[in-house]
Point group: C2
């Protein structure tokens, strides 16, 4: 904890490295203040409980944000089960290792205003209820999905589970507005339950659903969001071959969810013409 | 590579730690000679190909075994995608990191002779064909499964996939003899394709099947094996509550597979009465 974060090093026998036996959080900091901090700590606590790991002391987590300084930053923190154990058997007691890194951050403002083009990924997420929702260190599916395409105009990829139901994007949660209702995929089989998603669901009626990507054809607007980037409107959806499936034209009236999200993160509300002049 | 292996350290931004973005192998060494080395290197190559990572140079891998010295050891090697990239996007090019550790090893001789008691795990493996068979660093399912029980008399746990089909044990492959045929679970949806399993399938007719655990009621003998421990007969199977489902009494005539496995690893053949006097 005394070293500059980037130089922090972990031993080769750390179980986070060996097995992905741990959790992480990626937290937006503004002038040293962590945003959605209660949600981040709650998800971390839940993950530790599910994995049977001691929960890091709250004071120790809170202290991390003191290193941030002024401006917009991202704190990445990793909690591993530490070293030891016999193979997959966990050490008793285990002594978790807390690692962290703070980096400067600039959000993608043009994605807030102009929206993003996304694609449907080939890869289907495996269904594993025991780990669903956690931000654990087993993220090879996300890595494979994100590297299915290299076209820089395609910003994100939508993921379905092995039963063909929508789950999330590779690093964001998914929302859409349909028949007067906000909806988001249920995450009881796979996917990461985002902290922004959790906070939005506390403030707005958002229904969790189990539906395939065909539902997006009926959506008036589609959104991707996380606690670092805020909320991006989707303006074009391609299939896995890059063929356009649908486009959306944004109206300000549909920016309700974005306004709520950006209020939570201290990001600006985007105006009718997609303007974002005061930020 | 100059440091003693145990002291080797990796930076916090390594993708193996961040995402489990990498592979590992656990290799038995006898007097510096790696056993099933061709199979280990083949699986590593296949894993690198699937993950889109450069394959470590063969000479560099071969050189690792030179550090072993006399006696029985285990070489654990980890190949991560290294540092860099933007989130899940991989760095182009990526510079993989090779980490390794050599430790003394003593096999569980009494498990060879007397056999082991195993249980059926609650946890079901998620089905992910894109990663099936690989020895990648995303092993939280194995960790959760192995820590379902703490009774030291129960040595391993059998895992089914989310469709209820047998796959493997938490750190071993599974084999059984039924109606005059050797069988092992097909591993196209999940599980680790063991190097001992691969070598045995090259030498004996072993049929890959997709069957639930009820098939074990028909099995004349059931075996667990990997490239470090050799082959263990299962003498008792419990359900997830610890209630006995079935027992097996071993006859020497059924030790065919074990004899082949142990010949591959330089371990002794076990005699009719389970004796193992010359080792």
């Amino acid at each position: 904890m005394d070293l500059p974060a980037f130089a922090a090093r972990i031993p080769i026998d750390d179980r986070g490295l060996a097995y992905g036996d741990g959790l992480f959080e990626t937290v937006l900091l503004r002038d040293g203040k962590p945003l959605l901090w209660a949600q981040h700590k709650a998800r971390l606590r839940r993950g530790c409980r599910v994995l049977g790991m001691p929960v890091p002391e709250e004071a120790r987590l809170d202290a991390l944000t003191e290193h941030a300084g002024a401006g917009l930053k991202v704190l990445k923190l990793i909690v591993t089960r530490g070293s030891g154990g016999r193979g997959y058997s966990v050490p008793m007691p285990s002594v978790p290792r807390l690692l962290w890194q703070i980096t400067d951050f600039v959000p993608q403002i043009q994605y807030w205003t102009e929206g993003v083009r996304v694609r449907l990924c080939y890869l289907r997420l495996g269904i594993q209820p025991a780990l669903a929702g956690l931000k654990h260190l087993n993220r090879l599916e996300n890595v494979l999905a994100r590297n299915e395409w290299h076209d820089p105009d395609v910003v994100e990829g939508l993921l379905c589970d092995s039963q063909g139901k929508l789950v999330e994007a590779t690093s964001m949660n998914l929302f859409w507005y349909r028949h007067g209702v906000w909806e988001t995929p249920r995450l009881d089989g796979c996917g990461v339950a985002g902290t922004l998603r959790a906070a939005l669901m506390q403030r707005l009626p958002i229904t969790e659903v189990t539906l395939g990507p065909e539902v997006l054809q009926e959506a008036e607007s589609v959104w991707l969001g996380n606690s670092v980037q805020g909320l991006w409107p989707v303006v074009r959806l391609d299939d896995s071959e890059g063929v356009r499936q649908r486009s959306w034209v944004l109206k300000a009236s549909r920016r309700t969810l974005q306004r709520e999200a950006h209020a939570l993160l201290g990001y600006p509300a985007i105006g009718e013409e997609g303007e974002c002049c005061d930020w």
